[in-house]
């Protein structure tokens, strides 16, 4: 039964999209709380470099993307420590250099014709069973990591020094967050592509804010909103014959606008429990 379903490219696409949205939403909440949107963008832009390296070395692409993303994230943290350049300048340099380097590297690989558009904007309809397994594993690890890190990460987000005095292993938790972001980028690359991954993280989280009165509610709602956007985007892309990744992001955007058009007082809020 499941095997028959897995043969259906649409079923695989829906499953892949939902799995990614489930992790991207809650992680997106942290990206929004910690003002890391541009940071996430920079890291995801470097994913293409991972793809190129993966092809070059003949290694698993998801693994390579995760490694490169973590490496770029750490490089960024080291550069930020030196404080010679403002953070946004550094992010801009790294984001665009990594993206260009990735595209150039892919072009250098002989005998390989890579559909660049598929990596930049995603190709969810081409998700195969092995991709599905990779996304499932990456997503599950990320979700587990997020649950384990949730409380210390939240404490860190509220006040880093206070958290440190209270015994939160700050460096370890921050490294964990970077690993998390890298894992989600690797998993989401096929769904919306490296250029749009950040949108799948922050738009659902920003929409969820209006209904939430605790951090946990916001995270869970972000996952739900993200799943709705994936569903609506897939359906819309089939209906209008549009590229799927961007259509998913458009769906998320429409949801965000809809949520914010409503006057605040009409919006039901979940209780603080």
């Amino acid at each position: 039964m499941i095997e028959a379903w897995l043969d259906d490219f649409l079923f695989r696409a829906v499953l892949a999209g939902l799995m990614v949205a489930v992790v991207a939403g809650p992680l997106g909440a942290f990206v929004v709380w910690r003002r890391m949107a541009y940071f996430g963008d920079t890291i995801s832009h470097s994913a293409l470099l991972g793809v190129a390296l993966g092809f070059l070395l003949g290694l698993n692409l998801n693994l390579m993307v995760t490694i490169v993303c973590v490496a770029i994230a750490m490089l960024l943290v080291i550069l930020q420590r030196r404080q010679e350049l403002a953070s946004d300048t550094l992010l801009g340099i790294l984001a665009h250099s990594a993206l260009s380097l990735g595209i150039v590297a892919v072009a250098f690989i002989e005998g390989l014709r890579v559909d660049l558009m598929a990596y930049l904007f995603g190709d969810i309809l081409a998700v195969g069973t092995s991709d599905l397994v990779a996304i499932a594993i990456g997503g599950a690890v990320a979700l587990l990591l997020l649950v384990l890190l949730w409380r210390p990460l939240l404490a860190l987000t509220v006040h880093e020094e206070l958290a440190q005095v209270e015994g939160v292993p700050v460096v370890l938790v921050r490294l964990g967050l970077m690993l998390l972001i890298a894992l989600v980028i690797a998993a989401a690359m096929q769904v919306v592509g490296v250029l749009l991954i950040t949108a799948l993280m922050i738009i659902p989280a920003a929409s969820a804010r209006r209904f939430a009165s605790t951090p946990e509610q916001m995270a869970i709602l972000a996952a739900v909103v993200g799943m709705l956007a994936v569903g609506a985007g897939l359906w819309g892309s089939l209906l209008f014959d549009t590229p799927t990744g961007p259509t998913i992001v458009v769906a998320a955007m429409l949801g965000f606008i809809l949520v914010h058009l409503f006057p605040g007082r009409l919006i039901p809020r979940f209780g603080d429990r």
Binding site: V32, W33, R35, R151, L154, A155, T157, V158, H159, E161, L162, A163, Q164, V165, E166, G167, V168, A206, R209, A212, S213, T214, P215, Q217, M218, D272
Partner: protein, 284 residues
Amino acid sequence: MSQGSHASSSVPESDPSPLLDAREVSLERGDKRILDHVSVQILPAEVAVVIGPNGAGKTSLLRVLLGLWQPTQGQVKRRRGLRIGYMPQRLQIEPVLPLSVRRFLTLRQRAPRARLLAHLERVGVPHLLDKPVQSLSGGEMQRVLLARALLNRPNLLVLDEPAQGVDIVGQGEVFRLIDDIRCETGCGVLMVSHDLHLVMAGADAVICLNQHVCCRGRPEEVSRHPEYQRLFPTADVRGIGVYKHDHNHVHDLHGEVRGLDDNGSGESQGSGHCDHHRRGLPKR
């Protein structure tokens, strides 16, 4: 009101050894020397205040004492079993993070609602428990931060500019509250401030810092010290002690006048009134 019976545990401080002992601590960042051979001891049930002009390294010293930064030279010894309650200078929480006061208080350790309420009541803001943290005023936030620091049953309270962003009436209240809590729980207090008048009155030891320790001693001694007068030429010596005189009423957070019995702060006014606690007598 039963002071100290619920909100804070009274820890008998019979051990006279210092809570924190920093010896010859120096700190360099880049090629700038921020702290120069600073030695500081914090004794149990003592209020130690670090004062100094802007850029004197006060907050850096605090970070080294808290263990957030490693000193370039020297060492900081902490007493075994030291529990620090830290109240940071400012806390701004992004509006995009939905967080109630209750949730903020339990970020690190879970606690039953009644215990949280008791702590908030001790600092005078029980009505804030379910409010979003972003809706609090500066003074309310300071009180919530103090309540959070107390939740950990600290034997050392570390406060960085505890009255910043609080109006002048509220400032006096915050300092009196800190003093009361010190008397009730017998915890040591380490405070950093540049509000000389308000802070020095309640202090047992004042450390005047400007990269190095310029002078130290009891407030009266420090205020007469030539180094201190050179650093703070406009400081009005007569103003010190403004919170030592007895009040027959207090102003609460909303500026309303209340009798002293209303919040129990009549028990102790200034450090002079709880000398017996300092010698290690538990409150209950």
